[in-house]
Structures are given as C-alpha cells and as structure tokens.
Amino acid sequence: MFWRRRSGSDFRAEIEAHVQLEAERLKQEGLSDDDAQHAARRAFGNVTQAQERFYESRRGILSDTLRDVRFGLRMLARNPGLTVVAVLTLALGIGANTAIFSLLNAVLLRDLPVARPHELFLFGKGEWVGSQDTLPDRSWQLFSYPFFREFRAKNQVFSDVAAIDSITFRSHGSIGGDAGTEKIAVELVSGSFFKTVGVNALLGRVLTDADDRKPGAHPVAVASYAWWQRRFGRNPRIVGQTVTINSTVYNVVGVTPPEFFGVTVGQSPDVWIPLAMEKEISPGWNGLERDLFQSLYIIARRKPDVTLAEASSNTNLLFKQILYEYAGSKPSPKDVEDIQHALIELTPASKGLSQLRFKFESPLVVLMALVFLILLIACANVANLLLARATSRGREIAVRMSIGADRSRLVRQLFVENGLLGTIGAVMGTFVAWLASDVLVAAISPGSRPTIQVAPDLQVLAFTAGISILTVLLFGVAPAFHATRLKPASSLKDGRGAIGSASHGRLSRGLIVVQVALSLMLLLGAVLFLRSLVNLLHVDTGFDKQNVLLAGIDPGSVGYRVDARLATMMDQVEQRLRSVPGIRGASFVFSTFGGGWTDPVVVPGRPVSDHDPDVFQNIVGPDYFATMKIPVVLGRSLSPADTLASRKVAVITETMARIYFAGASPLGRTFSIPPNREWQNIEVVGVARDAKFMSLRQNPMPVAYYPRAQHPIYLYNLVVRYSGDPKAIIPAIRATIHSVDPNLPVSDIRPLSGEINGSVSNQRLVAQLSAVFGVLAAFLSCVGIYGVVSFGVTRRTNELGVRMALGAKRANVLWMVIGEASRLVLLGAAVGLVCAVACGRLAQVRSQLFGLASYDPLSIAVAVAAMAAVALFAAYLPARRATRIDPMVALRYE
C-alpha cells in the first residue's frame, strides 16, 4: 500500500476537479463565470504548496538516498584534490588494518578446517618440542607412545585420542625410482589421528588404526594436498606411488583435502606417516617402547555429553594411575611427590597447535593496536579536511537551510557523502591489504615458502566492513553536525568572516591535539622497537657469528648406522674441509643455536636442590670452539685425543661452573646424568665462556659440551668458518663432502648470522612495521597540521593584514602563527607521552622490548624531537605565507 505510487498528474487532476466543483457551486449561488473561477481558486489557497506537500509525502527514503548519492558523487568530483587525499588516507588506514587483521586471523583466530573443532583438546599447551625423559612433576605437555596407547584404551571421556610427534622431520627421500633425494617434511601421527580430527581422504584413504600396530611394519604415507599439487601437479596416480626415506619404501595411500594443512598452523607437513615407523624415520631419536620417552603431543575429541570438568578430572586420574605404574611397585618418595604434582591441562585445540602463535601472538597484538592508532589518525585527518570544506560550503548550506531544508535532511546528505568517501576508501583499502598480506606472510614464515594462508574469509571481510563503518562514523559525524549548526543569517552575510567560527576552530584544533598525541605514541613505539632490535642483534652471543656457514647433512638417509663408519666419515669430512683454502675450521655439532636438549645433572658431594636448572647438552667435534671462536677460559678445549676408549670428558660454561661447582675450580671434578649409563662420571676438562644457545634474549644458562667421539649419534649440522667470499666456499664445502661420500645429501648451506637474525623475526617484524607506521603517522599529522594552520591563515587574511598595517613585523606574524600551532603540538605531545608510558606497562609491549625500558629517556627525546620537527615544518609553510600578505590587498579583500 505504501509503495502504490500515485502520480503527480493524478493529484493535479483532483485539485482541478475540486476547483471546478467549487466554481460551479459558487455559480449556483449567483456569481459570474469569471468571479466563480477566481473565488474557487482563492478559496483553495496555494496550489503549488499543496503539490509540494504531496511530493514530500510521496518521496520514499530510497529515492532520497539515491539522489543524495548522485549529489554526493558530484560534490566529490567537484573537489578532486580533497577527495583524492581523503580516499588515499582512508585506504591506507583501512588497508593496513585489514592486512594486519588477516594475519592475526590466520595465526590466532581461525578454527581448524575439521569437523566440530571445538570438541578438540590438546594435553598441555603444546609449547615444548622434542622429548622429555623424566617422570612428569608439573603441568606436562609431552607424552610417550606407551602412555598414549594405554590412555586411549582406558579413557572414558573422549570419543577418540590421537598422538602427533612434537617434531616435524625434514627428511631426505626419493620419489618413485628417482635417483636424487629431495626434502620431505614428515609428520608422524598415530593411526587414530585422522579419525580424531575428523578428516577424510580426498583421494585414496587416510591412515587408520590398522596402520599403527607393529613397530616398523606399516610403511604407508598420506600426502598433503599442497605437496600433491606442488610435487605431482595433482596427478591422481600419486596413490600407489612410492617414497623412499632412510632406505624404507613407503606407499602413498591417499591425499587429504585442500583446506586441511594439519593441526599445526604455519607448519604443514608434506606427508603423514604412522608413528609405528618412528625408528625408520628418526633412527637417532626414538623410543616407541619406552615409557618415559615423552615426545608426543596428544590431542583428543571430547564426547559431546561430557563436561570439561569431568573430562579434566578423568584425564588427570588416569594420567596419575599410569604414572604410578611407570614408577614401579616401590616408588621412591621423590617419584611420589613428582606424580602428585603432575598435571594435564586440557587446552582448547579448535585453532590447532602453533609455534608461530607463541612467537607472534604478542607482536601481532601490538601491531594491531599500532595500526588501529593509524586509523584514528587517518580519521582525524579526514575529519579535519571535511570540517574545512564544510566551512567553505557554509554558504551553500545556509542557503539550503534558509529556504526550508530540514536539518536532519542535510545531515543525512552530508552523511551519504562521507559514506561514499568511506566506501571508496574501503575498496581501495582492501586492495592495499591484498598487496600487503603477501609481504607480511613472507615476514613471519620461517622458511622460504609461505606457510600460512591469509586468504580473506568471512571474519576478515566482516572486520573490514566493521572498521570502515567505524571510520565513517569517526570522521563523518562531527563535520556533518557541525556544518549544519550554522546560523543561516550570519553565514549568508559573508562568505568569509574576519574571525573564524570559534567552534569550528575548537573542534579542528582538538583533532590536531589528538593526532599529535597518537603520532607521538607511534613514533615512540617505533623508536623503542627499532632500538630493541638493534640491541638484540648486537647482543654479545659469546661466539663470532660472522663468516660462519651452516650445512645440513643427513647420513641416516643414505644408510649410515651409528657405528665406526659414521665416525670415520665425520672425521674425514672435518679433516678435508680444514685443508680447503679459505676454510679456517669445521666441526660437526648437535646444535649451534636455537635448539637442544636438557638434563638434570648430579655433582658428587653436592646436595641436589629443587632450584638447580637443567643443563643444556651439546655434542660437538674437536674443532668446535676454535671454529665458533668461543674462548676456553680455563683448562683445555676438546681434542681428537678424547675417544671412545679414553676418559669421558666435557667442557662446561662459566654459568654451569658457577652453579654446580660454586667458587672452586671445576677442573678435574666430575658430574653425572642420573639415569643414563653412558653419561656417568664425566670429567670437566675446561670452562668455556657463556654463549647464547636457545635465543638471543635468554640469560646465560648452564651448558655442557661433549666430544662427539665419546657419544656417537647422528649429527645433522656442520659449522664451517671461512674467510673471503662465501660464494666460492659454498660449492667447495659441497664438493669436499661429496669427495668423502658422493651420496651424502647436503642441504641448506647458509650463514649462521642469517639463522641468528631469523630467530628474532618477530622482533624484526614489529620493529620494521612500527617504523613504517611511525613515519606514516608523522606524515599524516604533518598533512593535518598544515591543513588546519593553512586554513586558519586564509580565514585570518584580513586580521593579519590589519596587524601588519598597524606595524606588526613579518617575524611577529610568523611567530604568532607558529606559536599557536606549537601550543597545540605541545599539548598533544604531553597527552601522547602520558598515554605511551601507560601503554608501555602492558605485558605485550614489554615482551617486545630488549635492553631498554618503555620510558627510556633517550627514545622519548628522539620521538619528541622528531614529532616537533615534523609539526614545525608543517606549521612553517603556511606561516611563511602569512608573512607575505600584502596589507593593502588584505584590507581591500573584504
């Protein structure tokens, strides 16, 4: 009924009919034809007004909006400079926010693409990687294969339970009959894995319980979609294909769907292989039958009718019950105490596991906050532009209001114009985000290949839409209401007053204060984060990271066993490398930086304390200390004379000496690693300077280095110190290794410094992006201050002219204009500093700082100076223009 349109002509016809009827009646009363017509029309009153009112009532909101949109587009086109600046500003703001959010979404927020992800729980937080072989004595994260089997069989609260090796193996394998080997990322999982997470095969089949019964008996593999696509071009004949790893031949039985990347965000394996094949995939590090070889994550699907509390109490009951079995029939008091403190915390696993998350959670939250500040600054800028324009459109709006336009109608129309700006900004912003997200993914991916998908999903789109609406509201509301608050009479009288509208000035000056405050926060953040990064990169590592190359060697994959042949090969490689010109030293090593394992140690005659830190263990070649340039400050270094037959020795770090041999010289003293036969009665022969081992941030920790000859295991890393051009050295290293054994796979010869710099990639990301944001913020504020001061000068041309005519010097005028701007900047800077110092107390911010406090005076001074310089520059340009005003011209201007 409301939309049944009645035409204007129909309405006119009705009015005409009325007039005729009335005229006829009047004629019957005795008037003449003409008089009757005339009187009837007079009685009717204003025909036009009636028609106006008819149109008014006919017009729907929809047609109004369409008209507003058309008008708005015309207004934007009429002022292209302003439109371009506003749209670009908004596009940068919205785009940067969308880009950071899509990364945050992929790393922190997105659910795993599996059935009912919210039923999945991880045992513990999933932060530990590797293996633990002590009885659990606190909140535990890694579990043994026997524990998994028993738990799965006895549990009542989970519909299924799966185990995943905490290490993804970078194995060397050959495909089909290929002669060469290539790197294949292998994830070992229990047969129940796919059933537990609820993923079916796209092609062939997935692993089942039948694939995980007898150790070594199930050489099958399931390929990931990404690998299938990359390596096989999606050839369906992959099913039945063979892959040879460490001389075991695996049959590919299926492919997973495209969206399933595993349960670890940012670390997608190429193939899944049953845990039963652990020894075949990882010959040097395994223990399927050992109760305390705890190396697995356990993920479980809670039954729908079981509460979380029930699940948790049942899990822990069973956990302790199984641990008591492991402790034996007569557990020691310490074992009992340990088990009492052992705990499994059920962690929601709907978003999967992720080492990326631990590394990038705080950085991403910090960046999200920074980029949101950018958006606020952008909004303030656009609001100021619109305020200035609204003032210059004062006449137009005054005219419209004085001929009867309704205020709400005008506000609506200004809103549509702002909405248009926002929409165009959002579309361009999405484009900016799309460009930026590739760069961002590359920045957080550990390898060369991007490991996460940031393709926009519903959450990202909703975020962009939300942020765009927020933007329009932020920049649009104040100017729209402001513009329509004019008094028509005074605005009509003069297009430009001698004195600017006071309230316009207040609002736009307030926006400048806000902008300066936000920009200062960003600048200070940028300075702090950059200096933290520099501090980290220049921190004393304890070794010389320059001119060292790392090479990866995988002897297990070409049939080496842990025996004399392996030792001979390593000796030969080290020896031959040392004689290559340009190579100063070479040594096999278990781990140079960023990994390792720990054990508790016992020193005879020293009481064991609960506060003793575990000792990091490293196994190295005889030349390691010389190659890494780690000074041995006491005693001797390791030597080729330390062999299987000789006395077991170790070189320990200063920190270990201080903690375990307090005060006295540790030389000649011994220590043991309790449960392990091979690691008893080890003599300390030297003390080395502390070196960073796990990360650059860590404090010095106890480390013990052992000669590789006395502890034969696979060592996958080789360090080489060189002088001269690394480009020539790299092929020489490869050739030398192949001269010992042409089949040995050598991969990834890379500089150690790169590895170390890569360990702070989160810091780097924050530092670089915050620097970009800081510059962007300063630039936007510069534009904003320039705009407001310049507008003020234009409006005050007359006043300034009078002042100069009365004798004000150019310098006076210059300083008057700059002085006014400076007051705003000072106020903004004060507000910004207070806010920045408050934000500096947040844990997320503190976690990104290194070697300085959030209130570091030098950084604050730098940021304030930069902000002041930018602000002065922005104010100086229009101020100089003010001094060029010719008093005569200015006065005549009125």
């Binding site: 009924m1 409301f2 009645r6 309405f11 016809a13 009705e14 009015i15 009919a17 009325h18 005729q20 009827l21 009335e22 006829e24 009646r25 009047l26 009363e29 008037l31 009187a39 009685a43 009717f44 009153g45 204003n46 025909v47 007004q49 009636a50 009112r53 008819f54 009532s57």
Partner: protein, 116 residues
C-alpha cells in the same frame, strides 16, 4: 461565497482535520470539495477548512489505510475522486472521537470552573 468574514472563523486545531474528514465520510463516499463543504456547513460556517490543506490530509489518511479512493462521477457529471471510509478508518474514527470528547469535556470543566 460565505457571508461571514474569514477572520472570524476558527482555525482548525492541528490533527482535528483528520477527525472531521473521517466523521464526514461516515455518511458515505464523498469527493474532496464535498468534504470541505460538508465540514463548513455542519459546523455552521464556524470552521474554515483551507482547501489547499485538505488534499495532503486526504492523501495522508489514504496512505494510512483509513480511507480508500476511486475516481467517479459527481452529481453534476464531473469527474471527481471519491473517498470511502475503510474498516480501519471506522475504528480510528471511534478512537479519535472518544479522545476528542474527553479532551473537550476536560477543557470545558477547567474553563467552567473558572467562570463559576
């Protein structure tokens, strides 16, 4: 033309025109001019209906669904738009009339009390 000076007539209170239109239509379909005339006559020329204001009001009532309109032919064979009261309109009229009576009575009491 009417015999009384226009200035002496009562100007309609806001909102009362709707009530009067609905009341007039209770006697059957009528066109705009007829409605205006009828209000003027039944009020014994006390009320002035500005014809120009009548039509937007009719349109408003039609939009609300209280009256329906159709083109037809008047007694003297002229084409005119005839308005009919709908059921919703009847209910509205009853409600409005009741409200108006209470208002008038209340005002009457206040004024009467002062006189007394």
């Amino acid at each position: 033309m009417s015999t009384r000076d226009e200035n002496e007539r009562l100007v309609l209170l806001q909102g009362t025109l709707d009530l009067l239109i609905l009341r007039t239509l209770i006697f059957g379909p009528q066109h705009g001019q007829g409605i205006a005339r009828s209000i003027q006559q039944t009020s014994e020329d006390e009320l002035l209906v500005e014809h120009g204001a009548l039509y937007p009001a009719l349109q408003r009532l039609e939009d609300k669904g209280w009256i329906a309109a159709e083109w037809g032919t008047s007694q003297n064979n002229r084409k005119a738009r005839f308005y009919t009261l709908t059921n919703a309109g009847r209910e509205q009229l009853a409600a409005e009339t009741n409200k108006w009576r209470r208002l008038a009575a209340a005002i009457g009491r206040v004024i009467g009390a002062e006189e007394g």
